[in-house]
Symmetry: none
Subunit: 210 residues, 4 copies
DNA sequence: TATGAATGAGGATTCATTCAT
DNA sequence: CATGAATGAATCCTCATTCAT
């Protein structure tokens, strides 16, 4: 947790530090990121850095926290608060499209987040054990979907929750790789939702006799 | 490419070096990994390391090569060679189950591989541009599946190929997180294949009138 | 170019660093010179060295720059500015005597300069291509001497310029070898100038019949 | 002094070692020269090197010895043995032209020799104190020249001997810098001898009334 | 609180020389 | 004698963090 001195900083200066940190952490892994580069990027003295933060990790955790907050801001809070009024696929579509927008509009934040997922030790240090997983959220969503009769009741919610999480990352990755895919955003999402809904089996053939 | 001196080493010693390297690279990213730790872990002098390898990257590339070879050894070469005799889902099941076995039996190798996918610069240095992607493979498989009438011909093969790749990673991740899931291997795979095949929609309800 | 931190140092400390560097570079070639020895000699931490300089070469270039400046300070700027008022041999005498004084008073600086002339690669890195050679200067001087009628117009200015440069080095060498010669400075110079002027032929005999 | 094992080597192999050493020492200073490069260049094992030589310096001294011998071979022994039959300038011309030929035909040997002159410590270790100087030789030559009436008896033989030595180096340098001068060899030498003989003063003017 | 210099613990790499076979 | 692997001291350089003002 940053020191009080950091929060007492004039907004503009505090923001400069945050921006410099995001720049550096987006570019390099936590270990490779250099405190000097951040201080220089923010236009503050090295010594000041340690007036504001315990150490490099302290800043990093703070940045991750900001990213999580920012990510949440992308979610349609209103819709989430009134989940019960929406169908499962409607909600899923909303979640994915907001996630994709975040990825496109905040690519550096996304990069930092992704890099964190690849450093298990650091990940646990940042999130502790109460790993507020995206899995948890999807599990609830799935439970609701089954209860509402939208979903096949025989699916394994734990497995599917994980897959939905992974597919969310997959979407982000498409963006991160910058346009490997030539579809516009909603088209990708709708195709993906269709797959999730119906799978890839050639149903026409299978249902031929129907 | 390691120097001849390395390949002339007695098997036991060479293996010690490889093991020490795998230990270190599984634990830390390429940048964080310490040559000293590897040398110490292998019980050789620092100087010896540089008799065997050009530099740290030289060793790393070699280890990656070993991992790729090892991974290939897990694949059912016979089945792949006779692809045309098998159905799409049969092949996919085989691929996933072999991949999962590799992940369970060689978790450290998997970890190194995953960490490499997160360092784009290094990744390209190791693989060059001829990156024989898993995507490519799945695209061919999908084309065959559509041609054979196994798959819905309206799916987007590029998107689906990517999703199949991601799901493969997802499987590995389950294992890497060590038993978060309480299903046995084939059960996971079959459930996953079922989802891929049929999606998660409540078909019973939908087809009620049929 | 040293970093600002170096120039912001208290004079005394900065001078200590410079002295330690001169000591080391006078004793050992650029490659042999040890940064640690310089840091230790200056009483600073290894890390500080790299706060002041980019790297070893950065310091070396700076020292060379100082030497050049110092050498220039030995030259009679006034006389050089008013070259046209002096005869060729008068100017040459001045140049040689000033050069000799520099060599005697700053032997370590001389040693560094001489050692640089023996590392062609480094030399070019330090001076680039605009190598303001001593040859160039002597060529101009010779042209003037011929125009003024002081010099035999049939001499080859390029060759002679080079020889005058070499003789300048020869003078420095006498000094560097510490008193191999028992003449006092001006006597050496006058003898040398006499040789340059008249050669070593026994003119008395040759002109006997005149 | 190389060990007996070295001298017992088949000629061809011994020569390979010598050539490899000359290559390396011509390219890099003594300190920078790598024993490994020499061993590799000669096609011998590292261990063998130390069967032949005490250490790197041992080989270096030996190479210097060879160079001195080779240099002597360039001198017209016959003429030197019968010095008394030749005039001073005749002998000087011979010495310089032979020296120049050596420089042109054995540039790598020359390079090694020159580099040695720039490492005083090493120089003394190689030659000890009995520095068989070229100076000594020229002094004798000058004494003879004066006795014969060829030279101005008022010159300082010690100074002039040194200058003649330096001019010899100057010649070598011209060659080493590869054709900075567009004169053919004998022309350079004759011009140089003329300068040494007569100096550069405009004698025509001075002797106008004669 | 701000500053920026000082510190020193690493870490990669080189290479002469020794050693075991 | 030949071989070539083994060794480890030396050296440059980086950078998080501390300190003094």
């Amino acid at each position: 947790m940053p020191k009080d001195t950091f929060f007492n900083l004039p907004d503009e200066k505090r923001q400069r530090v945050i921006d410099a940190a995001i720049d550096e952490f987006a570019e390099r892994s936590f270990h490779e990121a250099r405190v000097t580069a951040i201080a220089e990027g923010a236009g503050i003295a090295m010594g000041s850095f340690y007036q504001y933060f315990e150490d490099k990790k302290d800043l990093f955790k703070y940045i991750i926290e900001l990213i999580v907050k920012e990510k949440l801001a992308y979610i349609n809070q209103d819709m989430m608060a009134n989940m019960q009024n929406y169908g499962f696929f409607q909600l899923l579509r909303e979640i994915y499209s907001r996630g994709l927008r975040f990825a496109k509009e905040r690519p550096r934040l996304l990069a930092i987040g992704l890099s964190l997922t690849n450093n298990e030790a650091l990940y646990h240090e940042v999130y502790g054990d109460h790993v507020q997983t995206s899995d948890d959220f999807f599990r609830k969503l799935l439970a609701k979907g089954i209860a509402d009769g939208d979903l096949d009741p025989t699916i394994d919610p734990i497995l599917v929750a994980r897959l939905l999480t992974m597919l969310n990352y997959a979407l982000a990755d498409f963006v991160y790789e910058d346009g490997k895919l030539d579809l516009d955003d909603m088209e990708i999402i709708d195709k993906m939702l269709n797959l999730i809904e119906n799978g890839i089996k050639n149903r026409a053939a299978a249902l031929g006799g129907c």
